[in-house]
């Protein structure tokens, strides 16, 4: 991909993907359309605009959600191109201030949150889950992957906000007789926030630490498709060889066994009439996370899982599957443009309300967190929380 070509292509285009871009939908101007962002980079390269914090900030006005790329019949890679300019912005010191603050936190804690994830795992996590694993390392063998062939990589957002979901995931999987350990390496973040910040150097350093650890496993499973994309694709694109296979938990859940077991409490409640019988049957709508859907192509597995426990397919957002609309949390937008990010989430929630569903189910901890952040009263859960007892 040559940014000169890709930016030029957009500049000659009549903005055919603008309708699909949640950022331009929220900001409603020309600069934040894929055309506007790419044209600005082109004008900078041609010396017609200066490379300054204002122009550089447009490289960060992107959720990296690939909505435009999906619509674009030329397949022009807008997020990937803008990423190149993020790298340049970061290096030249003119990326938005919150980006540097976030990277600083990352450098201190090895994840984008100001906490030690490993400590959080230890304190929030029942010892039995960790120690009770076949062939799994124990906490005392911190840093060693053990000899389990399959490991569950929770990812920083899940550990930070939904530690109990990790326990439920492992319990559920082990209940299905899957031998899976918990990934317990000192670093528990894939580094995508560094990549999205444009700090390629730190991202590379982190990847170099993570790769030998990941290589110990035949398969890495996760509930976060952003982590999977980072480890499976970005690491490889950077030239690292890794034969480990990566899967989203929804791709691996054995539906018959999920359905065959006792219907989990929550799903039962949903399929038999909701919490409040007065309001009629409660129902579920499924939101496609960008990294699981457009990046990974997984659309049907989560829907089938929902159907297997509720007995009916989930309700659909008007924009679903490859046309899904980002939750607003991608590409560091919540820290670089919090207002725009919030508006995007509100747009998506408006669409959720139009489905008539009472419960929003999705398959990404980042999406769950974002929806909850904007509407704390919303009944939004991850797929695992929805089906696990």
């Amino acid at each position: 991909m040559d940014p000169k070509q890709t930016t030029s292509l957009c500049n000659s285009c009549p903005k055919l993907c603008r309708f699909s871009c949640p950022v331009s939908d929220a900001d409603r101007d020309e600069a934040t359309t894929p055309w506007g962002k790419m044209s600005t980079m082109k004008l900078v390269d041609e010396g017609k605009l200066t490379w300054n914090p204002e122009t550089a900030s447009l490289a960060y006005k992107c959720l990296q959600c690939r909505a435009s790329e999906t619509v674009c019949e030329l397949g022009n890679p807008v997020p990937e191109t803008l990423e190149q300019y993020r790298i340049k912005a970061f290096r030249t010191g003119i990326a938005p201030a919150p980006v540097y603050e976030n990277v600083k936190i990352f450098q201190n804690h090895n994840n984008p949150y100001p906490i030690d994830l490993f400590d959080k795992l230890k304190t929030n996590f029942p010892e039995e889950i960790i120690s009770n694993l076949p062939h799994s390392p124990s906490l005392t063998k911190r840093g060693l992957g053990g000899d389990s062939k399959i490991t569950y990589f929770p990812g920083c957002t899940e550990i930070r906000y939904f530690p109990e979901t990790i326990g439920k995931t492992l319990k559920l999987l082990r209940g299905l007789k899957i031998k899976i350990s918990l990934y317990q390496e000192p670093i528990l973040c894939c580094g995508y926030p560094l990549y999205a910040a444009g700090d390629l150097e730190s991202f590379r350093e982190l990847a170099e630490i993570n790769i030998p650890a990941l290589k110990r496993y035949r398969e890495v499973w996760s509930s976060c498709a952003e982590c999977l994309y980072t480890m499976e694709t970005l690491y490889r694109e950077m030239g690292y060889k890794i034969s480990t296979q990566f899967f989203h938990v929804s791709e691996k859940l054995d539906l018959r066994r999920v359905a065959g077991g006792r219907a989990p409490a929550r799903a039962q409640r949903v399929s038999t009439g909701g919490r409040n019988p007065q309001t009629g049957p409660a129902s579920v709508a499924y939101h496609d996370p960008c990294f699981l859907g457009r990046y990974r192509g997984v659309y049907e597995a989560p829907r089938k899982i929902i159907e297997s426990v509720t007995g009916q397919p989930p309700l659909e957002f008007f924009r679903n599957r490859e046309n899904s609309y980002c939750c607003g949390a991608g590409g560091l937008l919540p820290i670089t443009s919090p207002e725009t990010s919030r508006k995007i989430t509100e747009n998506r929630l408006e669409e959720f309300r139009a489905t008539g569903a009472t419960t929003l189910v999705t398959a990404c901890p980042g999406c769950v967190h974002q929806f909850k952040k904007v509407d704390p009263k919303l009944d939004v859960v991850s797929l695992i929380d929805f089906i696990a007892i």
């Binding site: 009549p14 603008r18 309708f19 409603r28 600005t40």
Partner: protein, 507 residues
């Protein structure tokens, strides 16, 4: 003066929604007129606006226009910037008013009498076409307006440029869909749906402002006719080996009272593009010809584009068909009957029914051709479209005249679409390449000059639905004749200081 004006705007809208920054000035310096892109590629200086603002309601617009009038600042309304006639070019700098913050469907109402379906939607003018249509679809309705720019144009732009969609034969052009508009005149006067214009009390704002491309005021809301989504649709391809036969068939279909939703005839070269532009779908051309012309996609393509007479000569020697796409929407039984009748008419003109395949293929790829344009431009070509129209008696002469003249400069493809009982529009696509971008720009200007001259000489109209803007401005005296004087008088009365979109539409 400008600083004071800027301060006044900031007072109206707050500083967040008014900008003078370089990035925005560059991004609002053109629309999608091929000429301005070629000019920029050739290194010409852009026409930069001085200020850009994003109002959120009609009152703000009213105040802005009052202030602009006080300071005599040019004002250019901006929708999606997808216009192809230079309508939004800030020729004299000034203020761009971007309307996209006004993007809501405010109301959907109807039916107004029990059992008689009549529905309408009230929407703000800054809504994108695709958002308008998909939000109506969610409620089971359609506007029936599907221009190829639906993905990137706004309702205000549709109305200002009198846009036409691909299903215009059934639903009409945008001016047929709009019942009423709310607008702001240059003086700042707001005319509501039922309001009257002070100086033209007997004229409805809709009739006065629709099609005036921001030269007389700003459209802020519109009340539109909408329809429950059609329960059934049928699409077909019918090939003809003679264009005149095909045109007779189209005329007879339209004059017989049938209401196809789509009726588009691609001339042989455009038929080829329709099929070769995309990877899949039925082909009406024999495979051998396909193979022969396959290399068009590769390097040979540039050679041929630079010597357009050659491929056109070769092509005229190959017997090839013109493809008619015929579509109907509505009650399943009714449209089946209508389709039968239309095919019967075609058969009298030695047509070959190609079945559903080409029709479905067209439907699937109906916006795809827009994506070809940036690709071709980046491959070093220039591309443009010239849409003219004429009554049936003049149509074929117009087609041959324009085609024969342009063939010397570029590859010319054409399709006949937007058919009416009295006539039809012709949509020429021109693709060319010269030795340099500067030369491209000169050739492009020659192409337009020749096309417009020939169109007027043949008795056609120079614009069916892309508007006049800057591009066709100089032909307005010949296009409108005495009518231009009326338009100029109206302009003088409504916009005495000439602030609204100066330099456009022959004003």
């Amino acid at each position: 003066m400008k600083t004071e004006f800027l301060k006044a705007l900031q007072k109206i809208m707050g500083s967040e929604r008014v900008t003078v920054d370089q990035t925005n000035r560059h991004l609002y310096c053109r629309d999608m007129m091929t000429g301005s892109l070629l000019e920029l590629k050739a290194g010409h200086q852009p026409h930069l606006p001085d200020i850009i603002c994003w109002p959120e309601n009609v009152r703000e617009i009213s105040q802005v226009l009052k202030t602009a009038n006080r300071f005599r600042i040019p004002v250019i309304p901006f929708g999606g910037g997808s216009g192809v006639s230079g309508g939004t070019l800030p020729l004299h700098g000034g203020l761009i008013i971007d309307l996209k913050r006004m993007n809501r469907i405010e109301k959907i109402d109807g039916p107004f009498l029990k059992g008689i379906p009549h529905y309408r939607a009230t929407a703000q003018s800054g809504i994108l076409g695709e958002h308008l249509e998909s939000q109506l679809n969610r409620k089971g309705f359609t506007l029936g307006h599907f221009p190829s720019s639906i993905l990137c144009a706004t309702l205000g732009g549709y109305l200002a440029a009198r846009s036409a969609g691909q299903l215009s034969s059934r639903y009409g052009k945008i001016e047929d869909m709009v019942e009423a508009i709310e607008a702001v005149l240059p003086s700042g006067q707001i005319i509501s749906f039922d309001g009257r214009i002070r100086d033209y009390k007997s004229a409805l704002p809709r009739d006065l402002l629709v099609g005036t491309e921001g030269t007389l005021g700003i459209i802020t809301r519109a009340r539109l006719k909408i329809y429950p989504k059609a329960p059934a649709a049928r699409y077909r391809g019918i090939s003809f080996n003679q264009i005149p036969h095909a045109l007779t068939a189209i005329r007879e279909i339209m004059q017989s009272g049938l209401r196809p939703s789509v009726i588009r005839l691609y001339d042989p070269l455009d038929t080829l593009l329709l099929q070769f532009g995309y990877e899949t779908g039925n082909r009406t051309f024999p495979k051998k010809i396909g193979k022969l012309l396959g290399p068009l996609k590769n390097n040979l393509f540039h050679l041929l584009i630079r010597n357009p007479l050659l491929p056109q000569k070769i092509f005229s020697l190959i017997p090839s068909d013109a493809l008619l796409i015929l579509g109907f929407e509505g009650d399943a039984n009714l449209i089946e009957e209508q389709e039968k009748k239309a095919i019967e008419i075609c058969n009298h003109q030695l047509a070959k029914d190609e079945g559903e395949g080409p029709g479905r293929h067209w439907l699937k790829h109906r916006y795809s051709v827009s994506f070809k344009m940036p690709d071709l431009i980046e491959k070093g070509c220039f591309v443009d479209t010239i849409e003219v129209a004429a009554t049936w008696d003049k149509l074929l002469t117009l087609y041959h005249k324009v085609r024969a003249t342009l063939e010397k400069y570029c590859l010319v493809l054409a399709h006949f679409s937007h058919a009416y009982p009295e006539g039809c529009s012709i949509y020429f696509t021109v693709v060319g390449q010269t030795a340099s971008r500067e030369k491209d720009y000169e050739t492009y200007q020659t192409i337009w000059n020749r096309a417009m001259e020939n169109c007027l000489e043949a008795g056609g109209t120079i614009s069916h639905h892309h508007g006049i803007g800057l591009l066709k401005s100089k032909w307005m005296p010949r296009e409108l004749g005495e009518g231009l004087k009326f338009f100029q008088a109206m302009k003088k009365k409504l916009d005495p200081n000439g602030i609204m979109n100066p330099g456009k539409m022959g004003l």
